[in-house]
C-alpha cells in the first residue's frame, strides 16, 4: 500500500486477492449445490417478507433468531445482507450494497498520526461521518479532535469543543483520537456475549446484530472510542453511503454500540481509510505493518513514535509522532 508509481498494481492485486479469498471461503462453507438451493430459499423468504410488508420496522423473526456472526454460513450471510439491503431501500429508497470482505492473510493494519502537522480542521471527522453513515441527530462521531495547549499533553487541560473558527489557533496543537484497534483490547474482554472481537488483521469489530447494548465495552475502553446509539440513528437518504460493510458502516440501530473499524470495507479492498483521504495536511498515515515498503512501516522504522496510555498495556495499533 505504498504511494509509489505502481500504486494501481498494488491496489489491483490486493483487490484480486480479496475476491479470490472470498470465493474460496464461500466454497469452504458449503457445496455449491446447497449454496444455490439456499440462495433460492432466501430469495423466496425475502419476497414473502416484502409482500407482507414486514421487516422494515420491528426485527423479523429471522433477525431475532439469528446465529452469531461466526456461525453464519456463506448462504446465511447472503440472505441476511440481502434482507438488510431491502430494509434500507424500504426505509430510505436508497439502493445499498453490503459486502463482507474478509481479512487478508498476512496483513496487519496500523495507523500513525503526525501531531506536528495536524491543524485541527476536523475534515477527518466529517469524512468519517459521511463514509460510515454516522447520524447527525443524535450526533455520533468516531474521531474526537482535542485542542491542547502547547507545553502540555494533558487532556484535562484541553478541549474537544473548540469553535468552528480559524485553525490552528496560536499556541495550540491538535490531537485526534479514534479507536486504537488495540492488540490487547479491554473492550473485547469486557463483552459478555462475544458481540465484539479482534480480527486477524488487527481490526476490532462489532456485530451490531448481536450486541445487547450493556455498554460494558464503552466503560472498559481507555480511549473513549466506542459510541452507543442512545436513540434510533437517522441518516438523510442523500447522505447514505451505499458501499457498506457488514462489520463496518452498514445501518445500525437504537441500543447497540459502534466504533471506528479503520474503514475495513475500504481498506480490505486496498483503499485508504476515509479520514486519511480527507486530511488536508497529510498528518495521517496508514498501511500494512507486515509490508516493509508501507508508509506505516517507514514511520515506525524512522520516527520516534508513541502510543496513548502505554502503561495500560493495551498495545494500540494507532501511533502518534512529531516531526
Amino acid at each position: 500500500m505504498s504511494k509509489s508509481a505502481d500504486d494501481t498494481d498494488a491496489l489491483m492485486s490486493a483487490a484480486e486477492r480479496v475476491e479470490k479469498l472470498t470465493e474460496t471461503r464461500l466454497a469452504e462453507n458449503g457445496t455449491r449445490r446447497t449454496f444455490l438451493k439456499m440462495a433460492g430459499l432466501g430469495a423466496a423468504t425475502a419476497t414473502a417478507a416484502s409482500v407482507t410488508g414486514c421487516g422494515s420496522t420491528a426485527p423479523t423473526s429471522e433477525e431475532f433468531f439469528r446465529q452469531h456472526y461466526k456461525k453464519l454460513t456463506a448462504e446465511d450471510k447472503e440472505r441476511i445482507f440481502k434482507r438488510i439491503e431491502e430494509e434500507t431501500f424500504a426505509r430510505t429508497g436508497v439502493e445499498t450494497h453490503i459486502s463482507d470482505p474478509p481479512p487478508i492473510d498476512g496483513v496487519e493494519f496500523a495507523y500513525a498520526l503526525n501531531l506536528s502537522v495536524c491543524n485541527g480542521s476536523r475534515r477527518c471527522v466529517e469524512a468519517c461521518a459521511r463514509e460510515n453513515n454516522l447520524p447527525d441527530d443524535p450526533e455520533i462521531r468516531y474521531i474526537r479532535v482535542f485542542e491542547l495547549e502547547l507545553g502540555s499533553m494533558e487532556f484535562d487541560d484541553g478541549t474537544a469543543y473548540y469553535g468552528e473558527g480559524k485553525v490552528p489557533e496560536p499556541k495550540k496543537f491538535y490531537m485526534p483520537v479514534q479507536c486504537h484497534q488495540c492488540d490487547n483490547p479491554p473492550c473485547v474482554k469486557a463483552c459478555p456475549v462475544q458481540a465484539t472481537w479482534k480480527e486477524p488483521d488487527g481490526i476490532v469489530v462489532i456485530d451490531y446484530s448481536w450486541c445487547i447494548g450493556c455498554r460494558f465495552c464503552v466503560v472498559a475502553c481507555p480511549y473513549f472510542a466506542r459510541r452507543f446509539n442512545w436513540s434510533a440513528p437517522t441518516v438523510p437518504p442523500d447522505r447514505i453511503n451505499p458501499n457498506q460493510g457488514y462489520l463496518s458502516n452498514r445501518p445500525r440501530f437504537k441500543g447497540v454500540v459502534e466504533k471506528c473499524t479503520f474503514c475495513l470495507h475500504r481498506t480490505r479492498k486496498g483503499r485508504m481509510p476515509a479520514c486519511l483521504e480527507a486530511c488536508p495536511t497529510g498528518a495521517r498515515k496508514f498501511g500494512n505493518l507486515n509490508d516493509p515498503n508501507s508508509d506505516i512501516r517507514k514511520i515506525l522504522d524512522t520516527k520516534r513514535v508513541y502510543v496513548l496510555k502505554e502503561e495500560l498495556a493495551t498495545l494500540p495499533r494507532f501511533y502518534y509522532y512529531f516531526e
Binding site: 431475532f64 482535542f146 459478555p192 456475549v193 455498554r215 460494558f216 436513540s231 437504537k254 441500543g255
Partner: protein, 428 residues
C-alpha cells in the same frame, strides 16, 4: 411422587390465599406499591420506545442510576449471609429463628438486581444472546452466572423449608444444609464478582484499586443487616412474628463492626488518593470537593459520610442503641448512606473525568427515577407477598390439611438442633 405434586399445588394455592388476605392497611400498602409499579411501567415503555435516550446517560457517563442501584442491591442480597453465618456456623439460636426471613429478602433483592440490569440493557430482546457467553473472560458473564445461581440457591432453601413445614414434616438436613453452606460462599462471591466488574478496569483509575471488593463487602454487610433490622421490626409489629430482642441485638453487633470497617476502608482510600495527589485522585477530588465548578455530587457524598458516621456512632454506643427508635433511625441512615456511597458515589465518579479528561455531570432523568422507583416497589411487593405466605407457615398457623401437627412452641423446627434448643429452653 404424585403426592408431592398434589401437595405442591396445595402449598401454592394456600400461599396465594395467604397473600391475598390482609387488613385494610395491608391493601393500602399493596395499592401504594402497585401505583409506583404502574408509573414505572409507563416510564419503561417510553424508554423502550425512544431508547436509552430517555435517560440522562451519555457516552461519557454510560452507566447511571440503574447500574448504581444494581451494584448496591447485589450487596443487600449478599448481606443475608450475615444472618446465615451466625445461625448455621455458630449455632446462634436467636438468629436461627429469623434466618428464613433474611433469605427471603435475598430472593426479593436479587429479583430487583436482575430487573435493574434488564432495564439498563439497550436491546433486552437479545438477552438470549447470553447463550454465547464470554466466559471466563468477561466479568459481566460471571456476574450473570453467580447472581442467578444465588437466586436459585436461596429460592431452593426457603421453598424447601417452608414446603416441608407446610406438609408437617421434618426437613431432611441432607437436602438443604449443604446448600446453605454453598450459599454462604456464594453470597460473598456475588458481591466480589460485582466489585471485580469495576476494579478490573485499567481504563478507570477510580475503580482500579484492590480495596474496592473489600470495601464493597464491608458496606454491604453494614447496609444489608441494617435493612434486616428495619424489616424485622415491621414483621414483628405487623405480622405478629416473635422476633427476639437478642436477634436484633446480634444483628446490631454485626453492623457495629462492619460499619466501622467500611468507614476505615473508605478513609484508607481517600488518604491514599489525596495524599499522593496523583492524576488518579481526580475522581476522588470531583466526588469530595468538585472539579472546575462541577460540584453536583459533593453534597451527596458528604451527606453519605455524615449518615455513615452517625450510624456507626449509634451502633457502638449503648446509650443510643438501647433506644429502639434511635436504633431504627440509625439503620435507616446506614441503608441510605451506603446507598449513596456505594451506588452513585462509586459508579459516577468512575466516569468523571472521562477517559479523555472530559467532565460531564450526571443526574438521573425523570424516566430513570420512575423506573428505578418502580423496581424498588416491585422488590418491596415481592418481599411483602413472600412474607405474607411464609410467616403463617413459620408460625404454624397454616398447615396442609391432615398434616401432622408439630409442637406449637417452636418455629425453629426446620433448622438443625431445633429439638435441643426447645429442650434447653424448657429446662431453663
Amino acid at each position: 411422587m404424585s403426592g408431592i405434586i398434589l401437595d405442591a399445588r396445595r402449598f401454592a394455592s394456600s400461599s396465594v390465599r395467604s397473600m391475598l388476605r390482609g387488613s385494610r392497611s395491608y391493601y393500602l400498602w399493596l395499592a401504594f406499591l402497585l401505583a409506583w409499579i404502574a408509573l414505572g411501567a409507563v416510564a419503561y415503555v417510553h424508554q423502550l420506545g425512544i431508547g436509552l435516550f430517555a435517560t440522562n446517560m451519555v457516552d461519557q457517563v454510560p452507566w447511571g442510576a440503574y447500574i448504581a442501584n444494581f451494584t448496591y442491591l447485589v450487596g443487600m442480597a449478599a448481606a443475608a449471609v450475615m444472618l446465615v453465618i451466625p445461625a448455621y456456623v455458630y449455632d446462634d439460636h436467636a438468629l436461627h429463628d429469623v434466618v428464613v426471613l433474611g433469605e427471603l429478602l435475598a430472593v426479593a433483592v436479587l429479583m430487583m438486581c436482575l430487573m435493574f440490569v434488564m432495564v439498563d440493557i439497550g436491546r433486552p430482546d437479545r438477552i438470549w444472546h447470553f447463550i454465547r457467553f464470554n466466559w471466563p473472560r468477561s466479568m459481566l458473564t460471571w456476574d450473570v452466572i453467580v447472581l442467578n445461581g444465588y437466586l436459585v440457591l436461596n429460592g431452593w432453601i426457603t421453598t424447601y423449608l417452608l414446603f416441608t413445614k407446610f406438609r408437617g414434616r421434618k426437613p431432611d438436613r441432607k437436602k438443604y444444609v449443604p446448600f446453605v453452606f454453598i450459599a454462604i460462599v456464594w453470597a460473598i462471591s456475588i458481591h466480589t464478582v460485582t466489585a471485580f466488574l469495576y476494579s478490573g478496569m485499567g481504563a478507570r483509575p477510580h475503580w482500579n484499586a484492590a480495596i474496592l471488593a473489600p470495601r464493597f463487602l464491608a458496606g454491604a454487610f453494614a447496609a444489608g443487616p441494617a435493612l434486616m433490622i428495619i424489616a424485622l421490626g415491621e414483621i414483628r409489629d405487623r405480622m405478629g412474628f416473635p422476633v427476639s430482642d437478642r436477634a436484633i441485638d446480634r444483628i446490631r453487633q454485626i453492623i457495629a463492626v462492619t460499619m466501622l470497617i467500611n468507614l476505615f476502608f473508605f478513609f484508607s482510600e481517600i488518604f491514599t488518593e489525596l495524599y499522593s495527589f496523583k492524576e488518579h485522585a481526580t475522581s476522588m477530588r470531583y466526588m469530595l470537593f468538585g472539579l472546575k465548578g462541577h460540584t453536583k455530587l459533593v453534597p451527596y457524598i458528604w451527606g453519605a459520610i455524615v449518615l455513615d458516621v452517625f450510624a456507626a456512632l449509634v451502633f457502638t454506643t449503648k446509650r443510643f442503641y438501647r433506644n429502639a427508635t434511635v436504633l431504627r433511625v440509625a439503620c435507616g441512615a446506614a441503608v441510605l448512606g451506603v446507598w449513596v456511597e456505594k451506588g452513585m458515589g462509586l459508579v459516577i465518579p468512575g466516569f468523571v473525568p472521562s477517559t479523555l479528561g472530559e467532565i460531564v455531570d450526571y443526574t438521573p432523568s425523570f424516566t430513570e427515577f420512575c423506573v428505578s422507583a418502580a423496581i424498588w416497589a416491585t422488590g418491596a411487593l415481592v418481599y411483602t407477598l413472600l412474607l405474607k405466605a411464609a410467616v403463617p407457615i413459620e408460625l404454624g398457623l397454616v398447615r396442609m390439611e391432615g398434616a401432622p401437627t408439630l409442637q406449637p412452641d417452636t418455629h425453629a423446627h426446620e433448622h438443625e438442633h431445633a429439638h435441643e434448643h426447645a429442650h434447653e429452653e424448657a429446662v431453663s
